[in-house]
Symmetry: C2
Subunit: 245 residues, 2 copies
């Protein structure tokens, strides 16, 4: 499994992904699930993936080859004029890759499917955030659904639902994501550190801060150990159930 | 879906279940998923169920018929000498019911499976808590795993993992469960109010307080609205991520 969250804030985009992939519990590896493309001053694209690793790597490879080989006929990710068309290009690539594997070759026990989150901005348009399904269709984040999760989404969802605020700072959003990811890691072996995050500040049209949070990161350890205590204190604030003595 | 939690405390057992059943999103009903049997001064058994409603109702009916028809050959739930044997009787009944439906009749789109939580105490033994699988085997709660969840377990798990304390009072445990259930209800339509809960105080050998919490219950509304605020305050206590200026 995997856990990735893409979040739209008033200040811009925050994307965070874990790095664990596993085929069974005895075949666990660390892979980057976050990819970005940039033409400074013109466009920024950040993509995260959950699902079949071969599928998502093939999608990234095809997209990057396209960006390198200008003589190819297919439109390049660095040339499409809008985020909507970028989402459509990636979605079609994803659907094609899955379709090729499903039609041909060996039957696989696990699915070839993958789900993607795409965020970014292209000059002339606003920043946009998409959730792309393996079927090749996609939905866009809006004021009602300002963040998307993919992979092992359930453990970390309640805190996002409760504490997300579009006006929050990048620093507060990263704290919230650390809590959401930590809740997931504590409950599910298929999600693991390190976590990658990428920020994008609205209208900058260049990638913002990117970093990797390791398990021994002092800040993460503060959050991980402090959150349990903070939760207990939050519970203490609420009144106990009254059994009517 | 369903959400049920059975919890072993130093003081005794706390069991809570939701009441929503659905076959698709357009066929939603309220059903009691918590059943109890009692011989005051001698034994108390509390069972909760998640999964196919016909299966769990058949299991309960068979168990109750057995307790009524003393001439039947099968051992009665009110006569087995230990909690282990009660768990085995229920597990075998569950497996038989599922097996009968799977072998005969129409193929069903959904599974006939169900998962049960059984808690209680029989005179001469300690209180015990079991998780019973549709295959007819079961596991018992212990100091390392002092509570069981069945149904839609993921959303409400992080708060249980963080805040459970075997020394907590029934009143505090019910508060914790209200938060765990509320987190689930807020994220998943297949779990819904009212919630049923049943308490059992260790060595009493009679059922404790049982009640139903409705959506308009003032206490539940206090928890549901107060928890969002309490969580935000808990987050505020933790330091923001430092992006290094």
């Amino acid at each position: 499994m995997t856990y990735c969250v893409g979040m739209m804030l008033d200040r811009g985009l925050v994307m965070m992904s874990d790095t664990r992939t596993n085929a069974g519990v005895d075949n666990v590896s660390t892979f980057n699930k976050m990819h970005s493309w940039e033409v400074p001053g013109e466009r920024v694209l950040i993509m995260m993936s959950a699902g079949n690793l071969a599928t998502t790597q093939a999608v990234v490879s095809i997209l990057e080859e396209r960006t390198k080989a200008h003589e190819e006929r297919m439109p390049s990710l660095l040339e499409v004029p809008s985020m909507f068309q970028a989402a459509r290009l990636i979605a079609e690539t994803l659907r094609d890759v899955i379709g090729q594997h499903e039609r041909a070759g060996e039957e696989a026990e696990s699915s070839f499917g993958a789900t993607l989150i795409l965020g970014g901005q292209i000059d002339g348009g606003p920043p946009r955030l998409f959730l792309i399904y393996p079927e090749g269709n996609f939905i866009e984040a809006g004021a009602d659904s300002p963040f998307f999760q993919i992979g092992e989404t359930k453990y970390g969802r309640p805190i996002l639902v409760r504490a997300y605020d579009p006006e929050m700072s990048f620093e507060a959003a990263l704290k919230l994501l650390c809590v959401s990811f930590d809740s997931t890691v504590k409950a599910n072996l298929s999600v693991g550190l390190p976590f990658d995050f990428q920020l994008y500040e609205i209208d900058r049209l260049t990638l913002g801060h990117r970093s990797r949070i390791h398990a021994d990161d002092p800040y993460y350890q503060t959050i991980s150990s402090g959150w349990g205590e903070a939760l207990k204190q939050a519970l203490d604030v609420l009144p106990d159930f009254d059994l009517g003595g």
